[in-house]
Amino acid sequence: MDKVLFLFLRRMRAPLLALIFAYAISVTGLVLIPGVDDQGEPWRMDFFHAFYFVSYMATTIGFGEIPYAFSEGQRMWTSLTIFLSVVAWLYAIGKILSLMQDPPFKLAVSRQAFDRSIRRLHAPFLIVCGYGDTGSLLVHALQQRRKRVVVIESDQNRINDLALSTMDIHVPGLSADASQSGQLEKAGVSNPFCEGVVALTDSDEVNLKIAITAKLLNPRLPVICRAQSSDTERNMRSFGTDQVIDPFEVFGDRLALAVHSPAHHLLHQWLSSVPGNELPMPVYPPHGRWILCGYGRFGKAANAGLAREGVKVTIVEADPEGTGCGEDCVRGRGTEADTLQEAGVESAAGIVAGTNGDSNNLSILMTAHELNPKLFMVGRQNRDDNGILFEAGRVDMVVRHSEILAESVLSHLVSPLLPQFLVRSREHDADWANELLSRIGAATDDRVPAVWAVEISEAQAPALSERLKREAVSLGQLLVFPGQPEARVPCVSLMLHRSSGSETLLAPPDDTLLEAGDHILFAGRPCAVHRLGRVLRHPSTLDLLLTGMERPQGWIWRRMRAARS
């Protein structure tokens, strides 16, 4: 508050002095100039009356209330002081208004508002650096999951977008360069409530600087970074950045997974999308030969993913030497029919349009579709606002790297168990994944499920921990409603991680006995989060669930019950 107040006071010095002098001169004159009272006796205003008169005259309120009619001398003086004091007031008000419009002053006010909202943040929060396509997706998804977020973005326009977007929880936004260490400090990186830093800016260099700063200022903080080159990625990992995400690599991996097993790919998608949206439809990429247009970072990642699955790939690239795609690739952009024919589009099973221009990608897909309507089409969408075109082109799989990035970051932020689950789930076969999918779909009514983890500890599940000391409780017992055994809490347990035996159970069956220190990952409807939370926390709810009897809550009733039995 200091800065704004001092700036205001310093700027207001001159107008305030003008006002003081105007008032002093007017009052002095009025007290000095003789007047006449109603009896015709000589009379002079005292200071009190003079000040009263000047106050209402100078502000142009003009009550017209004076003890006696003014003498000519008083009138002359008054007409002079009107100009003096009114001008002084206009000057002061004009100065205040121009100060309010002053960019440095406005900046100081907004910085102060930001500082205040950070100081008042008494709940766990995340710092997101960069509010571009990915950043805004991530912030909205985190809002859905009731997470508090602080945003740093160097572009003032995007901060304005943030201020205008409708958010359930206020998201403080700082318009500053996040790579300056002071700005991260301002955003609360050393605050005990800060839970992590996510660096999503376009520049690897800035992300690197953010990661270093965050790790130095608060080593316990998890840091998640976006990296575009493997060089930066290695650099970030070298000083302990917790997660480095390369959107292209994530996509290559996803594409390989989709080719390998559509069910696993769908499971992946369901669990990492934004909860509440409609569930994405499954895709069934074919196994035959694929054509890959564009061998940049994206193309290389897609090629690596497909090669891992043993799929044969024909590469089409405009600049084979520059990108190093080897001898057997087809030269050309892929937007023309003859290039695609040279690449054998008629006999191919799928095509990936992966250049960095949306119109080129669409053109490739449309040309290819004409030549071979059965082709499975994967299109890379670079700009968010072209979504409608890709939808109209009926592309089988659209790759938005902002979305991939946001989902990937989200899965790490939701719970460390989720990425672990996604990796471990690949060990199981497609039938297993399909069965889990149908259970999740049934529980959530074909909406993207909320994913959350609970820990059976004194802090997070006091009622259950207490109970477990006395008797065994199975997982299934927690997921029903009292008195109606066929109704289930709409959620599915995905994974149980036991800290004691360090064993991990995927899709644990209902008769699994719980132990203190277990971590369980659930997917289900958002309302199930609250239901389960109540069961774990409130002894009476848990009692009712396990025994079917309501336990008296008050001290007197408990005593009476004990005396009777």
């Binding site: 310093r10 002095l17 003081i20």
Partner: protein, 127 residues
Amino acid sequence: MNLEKVVFGFFIILALTLNFGFVLGEIDNPAHHNVWELFAAIVVNLVATVLKFGDRTQTGALLLATSLVAVLQLLAAALVWGYAGNISAAGLSPTMMSSIVSLAAGAVVANVISVVLLIADTVNLRR
């Protein structure tokens, strides 16, 4: 020599001298205390206060605080005078006069501190 410093010092010291001049005399004798002097003291103190605005140093903050105290005391004295002269039935009685003067005397203390601070600051600057 800096004109700003001259004006600054002038108003701060004038605030003290005017204030002191007003307080001087028998405490309950209206004849010893001139209303004009009180008016001038208030105006000069207000000016001194505004001149101290916007200095973020420790001394600056303390200087501003002393001025605010002095202005508050003097305005209280003026209010009492206005009440005694215009509203109270007893008029400007010795009791009223002594409370006016004692309020103004409090302002003198604040102004003395202000001047001492100013001198200390100047002496430090020279070293």
